[in-house]
């Protein structure tokens, strides 16, 4: 066992953990942030991508001890979190509201340009791959603000989506790139 500290989304999280614990387990089970998804546990699907000291990594293929003292940003860091449901979300209550964002008491104004573009372009269906797609694209667009569609495809080569067929994800990345360019550095 080792005691480690990781700064997750700017907050210091300490844990006494087994050396075998993966970074994704630390994020989900110690930091209690379940936005990061585990699809394969073998560095193939990319759903678990997070930012580790400025670089995107697959958190299922990094030990938590490797990230000791480092800073990690997860999908939750993209937009302001006001996810305290006004009331308990049920099928009934959902049926009464028009958009899922309303259901969780958030608003579109809070979304990161990438999230907004994913929303607008219908770039997710089940949403399982989305956290990884967003984190990889965030790092990629910071490095290459004016990508071609082909470059976007190469950037998300390690992220598998079973639903969308990728077209809309590429559309969303292009739209987000435009928004981010307009917003300036």
């Amino acid at each position: 066992m080792q005691t480690i500290t990781i700064h997750v989304n700017g907050k210091k999280v300490r844990g006494t953990i087994d050396e075998r614990m993966l970074l994704i387990e630390f994020i989900r089970d110690v930091a209690n942030l379940t936005g990061t998804h585990a699809g394969c546990w073998e560095a193939r699907c990319g759903a678990c991508a997070v930012e580790l000291d400025g670089n995107t990594v697959k958190s299922c293929n990094v030990l938590a001890v490797q990230a000791d003292g480092c800073s990690v940003f997860t999908v939750e860091s993209l937009s302001q979190q006001r996810l305290k449901p006004v009331e308990h979300v049920t099928t009934q209550s959902l049926a009464g509201v028009y958009t899922p964002l309303q259901a969780i008491g958030s608003s579109a104004a809070d979304l990161h340009p990438l999230q907004k573009a994913f929303h607008t372009c219908h770039a997710l269906q089940c949403g399982f791959c989305t956290p990884g797609m967003l984190m990889v694209l965030k790092g990629f667009l910071a490095e290459n603000p004016s990508p071609t569609r082909e470059e976007v495809r190469m950037a998300i080569a390690g992220n598998i989506c079973r639903c969308t067929g990728y077209q809309h994800i590429v559309d969303a990345a292009m739209m987000a790139a435009e928004t981010l360019r307009a917003a300036g550095p």
Binding site: Q2, D18, E19, R20, L22, W41, E42, A43, G46, A49, L52, N55, T56, V57, K58, N61, V62, L63, V65, Q66, D68, V136, G139, F140, M154, A155, A157, G158, N159
Partner: protein
């Protein structure tokens, strides 16, 4: 994963002694991108893991006096991709930036790629084609060997249990008159079915002196097509157009993967790929600026 004790030394000397002290079962971890997959499958059950990621001298990029490029073994692919290289060194960036995927490249290291010694991976082919020197250290001191002697013909490396690969020394940026690398893979992040590199040096008169043509994915270690390469010697780079390129490519293919031994579809496909990729590399080497 089976339980292990994890060490994160801050210096090389400390790493050398940890490895010596904890014995042959100890595994080194650079980025962990290959090792963790093996640990998860319990293909490796080391009692001790020694991390190399917090040793500054292992992730430094520098130049020797003669212009040789010295890359620390724990330098990540992402670092190499972003490095401002010149001459043929730019191919190192290009290769590092076009393997696996973005997220794996942030963690995976060139030394890890070398020590993993998977013939389908790009690093072994790059190292052998460029005749890089491998600087190896242990508690007993430092030594250096040729990349060709680093990879064991039976697969794996010739490293001893106490050895740590410390640096890779690439020849200077101006050494090769031409350098090329190409590979075929089904999906972007798949390991290559065949990869290949061609490194060419010339004399003052512009005649080819060495043409090292190396293939990965064929045998347990990188395969050198010595005879096919030798056919290029003495020729001017700009006279490549007059060479029987397809014939040389066929010879290279026969040399590293004799068609008589290519009894499976996969082997036959590889044999064809070698020809196609070699033809491309030769044509490119002959083109102006190749």
């Amino acid at each position: 994963m089976t339980p292990f004790t994890y060490f994160q030394p801050a210096g090389l000397e400390e790493a050398f002694s940890l490895v010596a002290e904890h014995g042959p079962g100890t595994r080194l971890m650079a980025g962990g991108q290959s090792l963790l997959l093996a640990l998860k499958e319990r293909l490796a059950r080391p009692p001790t893991v020694v991390s190399l990621s917090r040793i500054p001298e292992l992730s430094a990029i520098s130049y020797a006096e003669d212009g040789s490029l010295e890359v620390g073994a724990a330098t990540t692919y992402a670092q190499l991709q972003k490095a401002a290289f010149t001459g043929w060194h730019r191919h190192i960036s290009a290769i590092a930036g076009n393997l696996a995927d973005r997220s794996v490249r942030s963690m995976g290291t060139i030394g890890g790629g070398a020590c993993q010694a998977d013939p389908r991976y790009d690093v072994p082919t790059l190292l052998v084609a460029s005749a890089a020197r491998m600087v190896i250290g242990s508690i007993d001191g430092m030594r250096s060997i040729d990349a060709a002697a680093f990879f064991s013909p039976a697969g794996g490396t010739t490293l001893g249990p106490r050895d740590i690969l410390c640096r890779i020394v690439f020849p200077p940026a101006g050494v090769f008159a031409s350098f090329g690398f190409d590979k075929f893979r089904f999906r972007v992040f798949d390991a290559a079915v065949v990869n290949a590199a061609l490194a060419v040096t010339t004399d003052e008169a512009g005649r080819i002196t060495i043409a090292r043509l190396v293939f990965g994915g064929i045998a347990a270690c990188p395969s050198v097509a010595g005879a096919a390469g030798a056919r290029l010697c003495g020729v001017q780079l700009n006279e490549f157009a007059s060479l029987p390129v397809a014939d040389i490519a066929a010879q290279a293919s026969e040399e590293v993967l004799p068609i008589a031994t290519a009894t499976t579809r996969h082997r036959q496909f590889q044999s064809e790929l070698i020809k196609t990729i070699t033809t491309g590399l030769l044509t490119q080497a002959g083109a102006p600026g190749g």
